[in-house]
């Protein structure tokens, strides 16, 4: 099988298997219990990173209901899926690839997944999470100041749920600083905190607030 990538020599062994490198990649995706980076997958399959990225994108399109028509695809040993999406999808989130059930089936899949991982956060927890996400790394005291209330118990809950973590201490005050985790990115479906919606449109003319405010009270 040749998936058009010129230099995939290292993966020769992979190509000899039925379905070739794409199926091998799919097999590895089946045992992941956390998102895997293109580098990790490439190393495991002995392919180069661009080749793996190409295969991942091809699988993603197939699962999303892409119909294979291009003539050069005919050579692929697996014909693509038909025109309808599969029940699952392959997503690249927080720098890693992973298989998810498709949102259309949330109601049904949710019956089988007992973990309650989708339990909604309280308003207080969401607001605290938002402040930490946009001001990280940040101390509890500063989050408290912005929200106007004590946030100790909410911060503890967010940490327990894996959405935030300890990121060291402030050199001056010695206070523990918090940041969001890669699990948070995964739950948000984004690659990095830079992809969070901009805060500035919600803060008209107050760009200097954080600094002003820091000087005031922290």
């Amino acid at each position: 099988m040749n998936h058009e990538v010129p230099n995939a020599g290292a993966g020769a062994q992979v190509h000899e298997l039925p379905g070739g490198a794409k199926s091998a990649l799919e097999a590895v995706l089946m045992v992941l219990d956390q998102p895997a980076t293109e580098e990790e997958l490439a190393a495991g399959l002995e392919l180069d990173v661009p080749a793996v990225r190409g295969l991942l994108e091809e699988l993603q399109r197939e699962y999303n209901g892409y119909t294979v028509k291009a003539p050069d695809m005919e050579k692929a040993s697996i014909a693509g899926f038909g025109s309808s999406p599969r029940g699952f999808e392959l997503r690249n989130i927080a720098g890693g690839w992973r298989i998810y059930s498709r949102t259309d089936f949330a109601g049904i899949v949710g019956k089988y997944v007992l973990d309650g991982q989708t339990a909604r956060l309280t308003q207080a927890a969401l607001e605290t999470l938002a402040v930490i996400a946009y001001r990280q790394p940040v101390s509890r005291a500063r989050v408290s100041a912005i929200r106007g209330v004590n946030v100790d118990s909410v911060v503890r809950t967010l940490a327990q749920r894996g959405l935030i973590e300890d990121s060291g201490t402030d050199p001056e005050s010695g206070a523990i600083l918090y940041r969001t985790t890669s699990y948070f990115l995964e739950r948000m479906g984004i690659g990095s905190v830079a992809e969070l919606p901009q805060l500035s449109p919600h803060l008209p003319g107050l760009d200097g607030i954080a600094e002003f405010y820091d000087a005031e009270r922290m």
Partner: protein
């Protein structure tokens, strides 16, 4: 997820803090966050926290204090609006303007975070409709895993457990009044209540201004204010204010021997 910690998240039902309440009141009147809005909603804000105070004695001190700090600022601002407009004359006026700007800034900042929090909530909910594949390793792969290196004796393991079970991340509840006063202060509501009780037994009524005349920090003022609320709940004092914003006169109503600070509710025993 339910917050099991007792506090205003539960008590206030819809509001998670003073800014939250303030924004809700402003929204109710469909006003921008401006000085006008502040003046309009001040009464409602004060009424709200008064109700809370009356409802129950379990309102934690730090939570109450957050509301009281905002309430005090609001009252100052409202008072300033009612006075004839004039030039900024003294340090108090300047401080008031700063307090107003700070309050607006904090309120706007909070409003922005509240808006993005709601965006975050929507995204988390939508993304929660997807479930990741995270299945246990298939048996034949699990069997291939290298044998664990285990070097811990039961005693070492116990030491590890002791460390892990030690609640190092659980801070004691703190009273967030550091901004009112430097560290190392030793002010307690109970002591201040005792002090007020002594003075009022000697002379009654006294105005609030007189009662705080010798306070050497705003922390002491806050403590005495809270102490008065406590005394009022214990029916040891009554308040008399002929018209809005007039001097507040405090009358001692508990006689001469019937009351002692020991009666104070326990939650105010902690030191500010």
């Amino acid at each position: 997820m339910a917050e099991t910690k007792p506090g205003f998240e539960v008590r206030l039902a819809n509001f998670t803090g003073p800014f939250d309440l303030l924004l809700a009141l402003i929204a109710k009147h469909q006003l921008d966050i401006t000085e006008v809005a502040i003046a309009t909603v001040t009464d409602e804000f004060i009424k709200y926290i008064r109700n809370l105070q009356q409802q129950g004695g379990e309102w934690a001190l730090d939570e109450a204090s957050e509301f009281l700090v905002i309430a005090a600022t609001l009252l100052d601002l409202k008072a300033a609006r009612l006075l004839p407009a004039g030039e900024v004359e003294n340090e108090e006026d300047v401080a008031l303007l700063e307090a107003r700007d700070l309050l607006f800034a904090r309120l706007l900042q909070y409003k922005a975070f509240k808006q993005v929090a709601s965006l975050l909530g929507d995204t988390l909910h939508e993304e929660g409709q997807r479930f990741p594949r995270q299945v246990a390793l298939e048996g034949h792969f699990a069997a291939m895993l290298p044998e664990l290196v285990w070097k811990h004796s039961p005693e070492q393991f116990a030491a590890l457990a002791a460390g892990a079970l030690n609640p190092k991340t659980a801070p004691p509840p703190e009273v967030g009044l550091a901004h009112l006063h430097g560290h190392g202060s030793n002010v307690s509501v109970k002591e201040e209540a005792e002090r007020l009780g002594l003075r009022l037994r000697q002379q009654s009524p006294l105005t609030f201004r007189e009662l705080i005349a010798d306070a050497d920090s705003s922390l002491v003022v806050v403590a005495r204010f809270l102490a008065l609320l406590e005394l009022f709940r214990d029916k040891a004092v009554s308040f008399d204010q002929p018209v809005a914003l007039a001097e507040l006169a405090v009358h001692w109503t508990a006689g001469h021997g019937d009351w002692s600070a020991e009666n104070l509710s326990e939650e105010y025993e902690e030191q500010l």
